[in-house]
Structure formats: structure tokens, C-alpha cells
């Protein structure tokens, strides 16, 4: 790393009053993207998909996670495990599209076959035609590469490098903060999931989500009931940041119906709601009656897929009377979240301005965003030089 890049990171890592934002190369440069891929996305617990993407035993779903081919598998016992989606023989991608497997995962090239637990089951003709064993092919050493996997709120998290602490330790501060919501959540079905293909670096979506400063300008519809002064910052340096509101109002259906609340919530949640990014790439909402997750899937330095998924306190299959309200809620959230897209794409365009220096934070209004920038800076610094 060059001296200038190190000096830039030092500025990012300062207290918010004196800090600058991450400079342009962190948004537009391929080499920096690849460094951040390793340090930020692979060394930590990142979201890649949903358990409900693979609802049935034997379901498998390939995921391209920042260029890394992964395979989500629900085994015949119903447990979810992620593997590298690469055959141990010649490196062929194993599964190209979602499907259900009744038996093994068969490589389409030479048909090496893997059990759903990743173990190598068959190596046809490996010792010559009709000879399926060879003393040099030790199957127990050639299973699929397992990726550390944890499912929380139906979100499939992975720690690709295998170097992070357990997920529950990694996310312990958030789990504690939202412990009242540690109860079953149900995806709202197809209407409750929608994707945005956004022309921006994934971090810009995080940065925008963290702060409430932009709400009056970008989401004017919120002003009537959720004013800027009703919001507060949420900052847990090194872990997460975001914003909360004190005036959350439930959506109401055309016949006055509302969603049932999560059980046994404290009074705070009657009107409280929180919107937090669990670093690096999962943006979450927690409210009395529903929540959502936005999983950021980087496609390169300047392109990101946003998966938006809404969850409820009840199984929608059991409440057909709330189907219309679920649809209405999805339309409402989609509208709000779409309002952010021109902002994050605009910031991406702005970062091609060669004189932009990372930007100046408002110490009062931008501190949750700075918490994220400092996390990025600290992680990169530690990766380059150790934890000094």
C-alpha cells in the first residue's frame, strides 16, 4: 500500500469531527474492491441469501457472492450449509441454478458426486473405465469446501475466511439489543421479496441507510408522521450503526386491519422502530409487527444487487385475510426504498470527481455513517499492519 492510501485511511479513522470519508478509490477502483472483498466481506459474517430460498430438504441454490461461487444447501434433515460451489476435481462449477436434489450433487463434468453434507461419495472411472477407486484419490480429503454458515432471521450468513468468531459472538451486541425479537419470523411470500440492481458500490447503500439526515429530502412522505427530530442515532462502533424512530405507526388495511405484533414486546416498541446495518452488508429493520432485511450482493466496484425481503410475526399461509395488507405493505416499502436509489447512484457518479476528497461529515448528523467508515478503515488498517 502506498503512503497516500495509508494517510487517507488515517483521516477516515479519526474522530468524526476531524475525519474525512473514504476516498474515491474505495468506490471505483478494482484493486481496492478486491482488498475490501477479502477484508470486509469474507473475513466477517456477511449475508448471502435466505433460508426460504431453499425451503425443502434437498433444495440447493447457487449464489455468486462478490465473485465467489457459493452453494446454499438444505440437507435431508432440514439443516442449511453453504459450500464452495466448485468441484474438487477440475474446479467445475457444480450447480448453475436453483433445483431440488433427491440424492447427490453430481458434477456435470466428470460426475464426481457429493452427498448433501459435502462428503465425496463417488468418483466414477477415476481408476480407469469401470474402476471407481484409486489409491491416490482419498475421498475423505476431497469433500466440498465448507463455508462457515449461520442462519438468523432466515438470513443465511457466511464467514468465508473461517476466521471470524461465531456468528452469535460476532453479532452479540445486536442480538442483545433486539433480544425481544428473537422469535419466529416468517417471510411474506413472493410479493414480499424484490430486488434492485443498483449502479453503485455496496458501501454507499450502507452509508445512506445508516443515517436519518437525508429523510426530509429524500423521503418527504415520512414528514407527516416521522419527522427528523423523532429519530435518533444508533452507534455501536466496530459492530453496527443505524437510526431509530420514536413514532413508528403500523400500516392499516382498507378495512382497518393491522398485522399482529411480535409476542411480549416491551412498551418501547409500541411506537419505536430501529433500522440498523449489521456490518458489512445486511441492512435490517425491526418494528412491532414486521421487519425486513436488505442483503447487499456486490457485483463489482460499481454495481450492487439489493435483495429486499419482508418478514412478519405470523405465517402468511395461516392468515389469508391479511394477504391484501401484505401486498400493500410491500408496495409501500418498495416505494420508500426506491426513493434512495437515485441518491446512492448519484454518490457513485460523484465519486468519479477527481477532486472529491472523501467528504466532510457533520459531527451531529453523520456520525452513524462515520461509524461504518471507521469500521472499514480499522479493518483495512488491521489487515495491512495488524491491530496497531
Amino acid at each position: 500500500m502506498d503512503v497516500e492510501a495509508d494517510r487517507d485511511l488515517e483521516l477516515v479513522r479519526q474522530a468524526v469531527e476531524g475525519a474525512k470519508g473514504l476516498p474515491n478509490n474505495h468506490y471505483i477502483d478494482q484493486a481496492t474492491y478486491e482488498e475490501e472483498r477479502e477484508v470486509l466481506l469474507f473475513n466477517n459474517w456477511a449475508g448471502i441469501g435466505l433460508g426460504s430460498d431453499i425451503p425443502n430438504p434437498g433444495d440447493v441454490s447457487p449464489v455468486n457472492f462478490a465473485g465467489m461461487p457459493l452453494l446454499m444447501v438444505r440437507n435431508h434433515e432440514g439443516d442449511i450449509q453453504v459450500f464452495q460451489n466448485t468441484c474438487r476435481h477440475r474446479g467445475m462449477m457444480l450447480v448453475e441454478k436453483n433445483c431440488n436434489l433427491r440424492g447427490t450433487i453430481r458434477c456435470p463434468y466428470h460426475s464426481w458426486s457429493y452427498n448433501l453434507d459435502g462428503s465425496l461419495r463417488a468418483t466414477p472411472h477415476v481408476g480407469g473405465p469401470g474402476m471407481n477407486i484409486d489409491k491416490h484419490i482419498v475421498r475423505k480429503d476431497l469433500g466440498l469446501i465448507k463455508i462457515n454458515t449461520y442462519v438468523w432471521r432466515d438470513i443465511v450468513f457466511v464467514n468465508v475466511s473461517g476466521t471470524a468468531p461465531t456468528f452469535r459472538e460476532y453479532a452479540s451486541k445486536l442480538l442483545k439489543r433486539w433480544h425481544e425479537h428473537e422469535q419466529p419470523m416468517y417471510h411474506g411470500g413472493p410479493v414480499s421479496g424484490f430486488n434492485f440492481d443498483v449502479a453503485c458500490n455496496w458501501k454507499l447503500a450502507v452509508e445512506n441507510y445508516c443515517e436519518s439526515y437525508h429523510l426530509p429530502w429524500i423521503h418527504p412522505g415520512l414528514n407527516s408522521y416521522s419527522r427528523l427530530e423523532d429519530h435518533y442515532h444508533i452507534e455501536e462502533p466496530g459492530h453496527f450503526s443505524g437510526q431509530g424512530t420514536l413514532v413508528y405507526r403500523q400500516i392499516i388495511g382498507d378495512h382497518g386491519e393491522t398485522f399482529p405484533d411480535f409476542k411480549n414486546l416491551s412498551k418501547f416498541w409500541d411506537t419505536g422502530a430501529e433500522y440498523i446495518v449489521l456490518f458489512p452488508n445486511v441492512m435490517l429493520a425491526t418494528q412491532r409487527d414486521h421487519g425486513y432485511a436488505i442483503i447487499l450482493l456486490p457485483q463489482g466496484p460499481e454495481r450492487t444487487i439489493e435483495r429486499n425481503e419482508i418478514f412478519y410475526s405470523f405465517d402468511p399461509e395461516t392468515r389469508p385475510d391479511l394477504k391484501a395488507l401484505i401486498e400493500k405493505n410491500s408496495v409501500q416499502w418498495r416505494g420508500v426504498l426506491e426513493e434512495d436509489l437515485f441518491v446512492i447512484e448519484g454518490m457513485q457518479k460523484g465519486r468519479h470527481g477527481i477532486f472529491f476528497d472523501g467528504g466532510k461529515f457533520s459531527p451531529v448528523m453523520d456520525s452513524p455513517t462515520h461509524v461504518f467508515h471507521k469500521w472499514v478503515g480499522d479493518k483495512l488498517h488491521a489487515s495491512r499492519y495488524g491491530n496497531s
Partner: protein, 78 residues
């Protein structure tokens, strides 16, 4: 070494591949492999049994057990 009924079986194999009827194909390979073993053609028989074994594994078929035992008895499978 010639394989009896090769043309007939080969055409059936191609048809089933074309139609993606892989479970039927696994059974065909099993039948063909056993037939060749009965004729003393060990390598050829195990070749087709292996083809059937992989497809049977993939599709979770009960024939997996039978094919495995044959291959294992001939020291062709662990």
C-alpha cells in the same frame, strides 16, 4: 473387444439422455451392466454399472444399493 447388443443399448441410452429420463437411464445401465457381467465381461459391465450408479445416486434411487454391492464385490467401489 465387442459388446453384445451395443447398437441397441447405445440407441436407447442416447434416447433417454435426449429426453432427460435419467432414472430410466440408470435402470438401463444396470440391466446392461449385469448382462455383460453374466457374459464374463467384467470391465465393460462395471463401466455401465458405474454409469448407472452415479445416476442412481443423483436421483436418490433404491437401485443405488444393488449397484454399489456389485461394484464393491468386484473391488470397483469403496
Amino acid at each position: 473387444m465387442s459388446i453384445p447388443d451395443f447398437e441397441k443399448y447405445n440407441q436407447l441410452v442416447l434416447d433417454l439422455f435426449e429426453k432427460e429420463k435419467f432414472e430410466e437411464l440408470a435402470c438401463l445401465y444396470l440391466e446392461w451392466g449385469k448382462k455383460l457381467l453374466a457374459l464374463g465381461k467384467l470391465d465393460e459391465g462395471c463401466f455401465f454399472l458405474t454409469q448407472g450408479y452415479v445416476l442412481a445416486l443423483e436421483h436418490g434411487m433404491e437401485e443405488t444399493v444393488e449397484i454399489y454391492e456389485i461394484l464393491n464385490n468386484h473391488e470397483r467401489e469403496d
